[in-house]
């Protein structure tokens, strides 16, 4: 019955209650949607980095990650590849040759990272094949090269143009090879597009005098959330000559950014919660002052302080809960629409791609969003109701009943 009274009390002043409900609902709805967009955008940045090159796990010779020299390569690569491929959690893998070099066209020269790949295996690990804006993925020709759109612009080349790639081989000599552009890709990172070129692994091995050796195995796992466990298992299968890096270790800044984004969203919720807190204090104080006489009557007929306190708290809870539900539904509708159509920020495409962000952002609804949006407002509302509730229970029945 206390709940019933609390519920009905809220609707005694419909306009006031609707105003506070609306402010909670709109505030929460937009904050939730913004949270989804922020989480979605940082997740997209992470996914872009993983899918364009990093993958979930990278297996190298010890020391390669800090000093990427071609002489530090994986010999007897077949047995290592077989060991990696035999693990049940490895969904896809791709052996790679990596080296720094220079690429030259008739018009210009640029420093690049040469990536030798097995085209069919790399297809499962990265999205380079899907990122082609011109041309095709590799055919059987060994001297084909894929370059980024930014690099093509710098070198002033297009499809079928020739490029000369110069890089140091394992014997210390300078090796060069001519390639023909068969595809131009554009990922979400303009920096990546300027720096990476892809060639068939056999050609890279031959050019760099690697034999069958490789620089790295990139792998995609079945459950990225178990990545640290997988790393331990993999480490136990391989000897100490190898080092294994998870995407979290390879992309520390992005992981840090995800954390900062989540923390900053919590701050946003707290700001909204604080606004609600003062809204609730104001609304309930007005409501308590309007009902001083009534509280006096309730106390006279034997309503104890605990129940009076509970009634005011329940009024705050109902207001915040109803506001939260409406706000959450608004947020969900916004999330649903944006997850279909995306948020098109192509007008900022230049600056977004410098950060590896997509131009169309898709929101991400995860447990963090749900917990933040469902709990923060009701909790702050209940905190806000404590002061008016204390005011109510401090009333003396006789004085309260004299109050008009």
């Amino acid at each position: 019955m206390i709940f019933k009274i609390a519920w009905r009390n809220i609707w005694r002043n419909k306009r006031r209650s609707i105003i506070i409900l609306t402010s909670i609902a709109i505030g929460l709805g937009f904050t939730m949607l913004y949270d989804c967009i922020v989480r979605g955008s940082v997740q997209q940045m992470l996914d872009n980095a993983i899918n364009s090159h990093t993958s979930h796990l990278q297996i190298n010779n010890a020391g390669f990650n800090s000093n990427k020299i071609i002489t530090n390569n994986i010999s007897h690569s077949d047995s290592i590849i077989n060991k990696v491929a035999s693990l049940p959690f490895i969904k896809y893998y791709s052996p790679r040759v990596l080296n720094f070099g220079m690429i030259t066209s008739a018009a210009n020269t640029s420093g690049i990272t040469l990536v030798g790949i097995e085209p069919e295996k790399e297809r499962n690990v990265t999205i380079i094949h899907k990122s082609l804006t011109k041309g095709t993925y590799f055919s059987t020709n060994p001297n084909e090269i894929l370059i980024g759109e930014k690099l093509a612009e710098k070198l002033e080349v297009d499809l079928n143009d020739k490029l000369v790639l110069v890089s140091s081989a394992t014997d210390g000599s300078v090796s060069s090879e001519m390639f023909r552009v068969v595809g131009i890709f554009k990922t979400n990172s303009s920096e990546f597009d300027k720096a990476y070129v892809y060639v068939p692994i056999k050609t890279a091995q031959k050019m760099l005098l690697l034999g069958d050796n490789i620089s790295q195995i990139a792998a995609i796992t079945d459950k990225p959330e178990n990545i640290n466990t997988y790393k331990s298992i993999l480490q136990s299968k391989l000897d100490y000559h190898f080092e294994i890096f998870t995407y979290q270790e390879l992309l520390p800044l992005l992981i840090y950014y995800v954390q900062i984004a989540n923390d900053s969203m919590l701050v946003m919720y707290i700001i909204i919660g604080t606004a609600v807190l003062f809204g609730i204090i104001n609304t309930l104080l007005m409501s308590v002052f309007e009902r001083v006489h009534e509280f006096g009557v309730l106390m006279s007929i034997g309503m104890r302080n605990g129940k009076v306190f509970r009634m005011v708290i329940e009024e705050a809870f109902i207001l915040s809960f109803v506001g939260t539900i409406i706000g959450f539904c608004l947020g969900l509708i916004g999330y649903y629409l944006l997850s279909i159509y995306g948020l098109d920020l192509s007008v900022f495409s230049e600056s977004l791609s410098a950060f590896g962000m997509s131009t169309i952002l898709y929101p991400k609804l995860d447990l963090g969003v749900i917990i933040n949006s469902i709990f923060i407002i009701p909790i702050t509302a209940i905190l806000g109701a404590i002061y008016p509730a204390l005011k109510a229970i401090k009333l003396q029945p006789t004085e309260a009943m004299r109050y008009v």
Partner: protein, 228 residues
């Protein structure tokens, strides 16, 4: 049987820093089943005395006993509990809870005592039938006349079967017919259920119905008589 006793009670209020003696050395004993009217002009101390009897206020000096227990020795929580269990209140302005229907208002004290919903609904209905107000069950206070509201207030006051009902000028806002009906009802409850009623009033209509009349003037009892 004595249920309420006041021993040398005085009440002093501070009004803008000036002490005002609202009650002076009151001695009073109320027996079970009495139908008592405290009469006196405005400012004579009727409401103050009723507030002391109902433990809504504490005397500045003196003692008040309810069924032998001294009220000043009780905590705020115990006093609330005692008011709920042993006292019923009827106010001049009815003071029903505006968001509740008549039957919910009557159920309210039962709810505070923790009576189960079904039982309290039955009991509230029973009392409403007894008082002839069953048809008002679903009406909210603003849908009822003053007389009807005061009947509901009486039902609320007696639903917990109190040992005493304190009514502060219950007819002040009613026309004479409604006031008469209300007094008839209270008299019947007093007769049939042996509920003790204590009224404060300066209304002749009420004063004439009292079987004991206490007259107050300037905070002192100037007369205490049994009426025939």
């Amino acid at each position: 049987m004595e249920i309420l006793k006041v021993e040398n009670a005085s009440k002093i209020y501070k009004d803008n820093g000036i002490a005002v003696e609202a009650l002076k050395n009151i001695d009073l004993s109320i027996q079970k089943g009495e139908f008592l009217v405290i009469a006196g002009p405005s400012g004579s101390g009727k409401t103050t005395l009723l507030n002391l009897l109902g433990s809504l206020d504490v005397p500045s000096s003196g003692k008040i006993f309810l069924e032998g227990e001294e009220l000043s020795k009780k905590t705020k929580k115990e006093l609330s509990q005692m008011r709920l269990a042993k006292l019923g209140f009827v106010f001049q302005a009815y003071n029903l809870i505006p968001v509740l229907t008549a039957i919910e208002n009557i159920e309210f004290p039962l709810m505070l005592r923790g009576v189960q919903e079904r039982t309290r609904r039955q009991k509230a209905l029973e009392i409403m039938r007894e008082l002839g107000i069953a048809e008002l069950a679903k009406k909210k206070p603003n849908q009822m006349s003053g007389g009807q509201q005061q009947r509901v207030a009486v039902a609320r006051a007696i639903v917990n079967e109190p040992i005493i009902v304190l009514a502060d000028e219950p007819t002040a806002n009613l026309d004479s017919v409604a006031a008469d009906n209300l007094l008839d009802l209270m008299e019947r409850m007093n007769r049939e259920k042996n509920i003790t009623f204590v009224f404060s009033s300066h209304d002749l209509q009420v004063i004439q119905r009292g079987r004991r009349l206490i007259s107050l003037k300037d905070g002192s009892i100037i007369d205490d008589k049994i009426c025939e």
